[in-house]
């Protein structure tokens, strides 16, 4: 290594190899992605470009460096299969018996099958009505397809209809930050892409599904301590305007609780940047079922199992599989 050009060539080839690996190949693989179709439903196109105001909100998000405290990527550590009952069928006694049989095997062999809601024959919640209320509902969870298929077969041997739901699991998902992991398609139309690297504040990848109210976001931006008593998020009062109250209050004016209200004769009105940011936050959702991130979108309550009605991309079902209540 006494030869100058040799050092240059070494550096060049080393950098060229990592360039091919992390610049060229990602461009070929995910830089050329087009809209893809959701799976497990009617196959609608995904993702859809954000509407104009939300697109401007992305700029506000970038300009104020929100990505230094908030991440926008959700992880997943595994997948499980939920055995869900879609329809109780005509013979209710038989399906109840089958459920109790499975509950017993779940108690004996928790590694194969776990109960999502405890089912004890003779317990207070063990009446037929309470068990079969709110169908379709998931009753059991299994980590292997064999056990899940066996359980579904037991239930299907009565006149009931059972289905297997694919449910991603992980600490982020249990925390309510999403229903599946985020994948490259979710960021297709974002410029710049800001997945974030810190979680000083909660993850925002699916905040549009958790907190779909623009007014909540505006109030939170103005004074984060309204919602969280000792929040470390700074107040973004420069995105708002304190105006003298006119004859009538502005339609946009925020309604703030006593401590935070601007005082008599004044109102707080969000500037266009604040409204854009709120629109952007509401548009954040990443739970459409995709091939890379499979998740079942259960049919809404009351609909027959094999429905032809198209499932709206990213729609959250009214009867989502039981998880911990979403935390902020």
């Amino acid at each position: 290594m006494n030869y100058g050009p040799l050092v240059f060539l070494a550096a060049f080839f080393a950098l060229a190899s990592s360039w091919c690996g992390f610049v060229l190949t990602p461009q070929l693989q995910i830089g050329h992605l087009q809209q893809t179709n959701t799976v497990g439903g009617a196959g609608v196109a995904y993702p859809i470009a954000r509407p104009g105001l939300a697109r401007q909100g992305l700029d506000v998000y970038r300009a104020n460096g929100c990505a230094y405290c908030h991440s926008q990527q959700v992880g997943q550590t595994g997948s499980v299969l939920d055995i869900a009952l879609m329809d109780a069928g005509t013979n209710q006694a038989a399906i109840i018996a089958a459920l109790f049989k499975l509950a017993e095997s779940a108690t004996n062999q928790p590694s194969a099958l776990t109960m999502l809601t405890p089912l004890q024959p003779g317990a207070s919640n063990a009446t037929t009505e309470s068990i079969l209320a709110g169908l379709p509902k998931a009753f059991f969870r299994s980590t292997t397809r064999e056990a899940a298929n066996a359980a579904a077969k037991t239930l299907n041997s009565t006149s009931a209809k059972a289905q297997l739901w694919v449910v991603p699991v992980g600490p982020d998902l249990t925390r309510g930050w999403g229903r599946r992991r985020t994948v490259a398609e979710d960021y297709l139309y974002d410029a710049p892409v800001m997945p974030g690297s810190q979680r000083v504040g909660p993850d925002l990848a699916n905040v549009g599904t958790r907190l779909p109210d623009a007014n909540w976001h505006l109030a939170h931006l103005y004074a984060p301590r309204i919602e969280a008593k000792a929040s470390t998020m700074p107040p973004y009062r420069f995105l708002f305007e304190k105006r003298k109250l006119g004859r009538r209050p502005s339609p946009d004016a925020l309604s703030l609780p006593g401590d935070f209200s601007p005082g008599a004769g004044y109102e707080i009105v969000p500037k266009p940047a604040a409204k854009a940011l709120a629109a952007y936050l509401i548009s954040l959702r990443a739970d459409a079922p995709l091939f890379d991130a499979p998740i079942s979108v259960p049919a809404p309550a009351g609909a027959p199992a094999s429905t032809n009605a198209p499932a709206v991309a990213g729609a959250t079902s009214t009867n989502a599989p039981p998880t911990n209540p979403p935390a902020k």
């Binding site: 600490p171 398609e185 998020m233």
Partner: protein, 475 residues
Amino acid sequence: MICSAVEPAQIDASCRLPLVVLFLSAAVWLLIGSAFALIASLKFHAPGFLADCAWLTYGRVRPAGLNCMLYGFCLPAGLGVALWLLARLGRTRLALPGLITVGALCWNLGVAAGVWGILAGAGTGFENLEMPSYAAWLMLLGYLMSVVWGALTFHQRRERQLFVSQWFLFAALFWFPWIYSTADLLLLTVRVRGMAQAVIAWWYSENLLVVWLGLVGLGAVFYFLPKLTGRDLHSRYLALLAFWMLILFGSWGGVPESAPVPAWMPVSSAIARGLGFILIVAVVLNVHGTLEGKCSRLFAHPSLRFIGFGVVAFILGGLASAASAFPEVSQITQFTWFTVAKGVLNCYGFFAMVMFGAVYYIVPRVMGTEFPSPKLACAHFWTTAAGIVLFVVPLAAGGIAQGLRLQHASLPFNDVTHGTLPFLRTSTTGDLLIALGNLMFLGNLTGLVIRFYRARAVSAWAAATVEIEPAEARP
């Protein structure tokens, strides 16, 4: 094999102007950057602190501080040290120092424009690449102006046998323009689509923070350690192994564990980070062999304290990085303050300290004047060392605690954040001490430069106003 080598004093004199501009501007940006970092840190004590000013909101002042540190201090200081080392090791004068000075000024203009842009809300949104494109291209132009002549200096070397440091520094000259121009082109100018942007941004970040800082930092360490202890570097071949490990695998480590990209990318990054362990071992063996195990040698020269601290920080940071190759570890440390602590340990604890040591050695030789206060230099070391420890250790501990709590989904998120606040607030003392140390550094350096130019002005004045002998005054 030294044929017609240039005298060291002449080499140093040729480096004087560009190095003064580079080092002085670097010290100024360092102070500005640590001031921004201090403001950002204070916001965790009172979120409303300076929150009403859009220019000083956390999301702008934090990247401004980081960019001042990286592009305002690390790159110019590294470039200055690299140019001086290439000139000295090649036994030749620095080529076209005037143009290099122009390049340095252009670079500084770019940094100023970039920091202004970030505070005004024109930040790009990519971490470590926040400067808007107008500043970025200006900085690249400035860097190229310096680097072309650096390469020329290397080419014109009289000593044809390459010392270890020259590989590292020569590679570093080219590394930055390649990665920076790629990142600017694909992320700022002709934007690629979707997640590819994030992958390229991570690639660039890793190449800058691990490879470029590592190349210049290790190049300086492998020079100053043997030079200042008066011994030979332990092994040329170990240094060669370190060089190859750094350039081959260092640039692959950027993609984080849970990134929303196909699985092969985070896995490749994890493997590359694991291979970084070999780099650490090679450096440890070389340093240990050079010192022959006697750490007391590190106190032989004031600069060596800085170099020694830098080496220890490099080892610790490298071990933390290699540990993150295991998914169990990275699942806990990702998204926490641990990654920030690791970054500061690498950037400040390793690179900045090595640069301080180098500057304290180089500048007196280049200017021919001593620092006005060696005691201030000593105080600078202890203040900055204490500051780095007080910053990195609480943040690392807080980050691990935060990560472990994030794994328990039943714990409300607010509790997790509140758990980190004591650690964050402790780290503010570290920020304060670091800022104080930087002030001392700037003060000392400015004092030296003023002393030099004042001595020059005095002697020029004396030469101009020398009394003429009556005999000479005869027309």
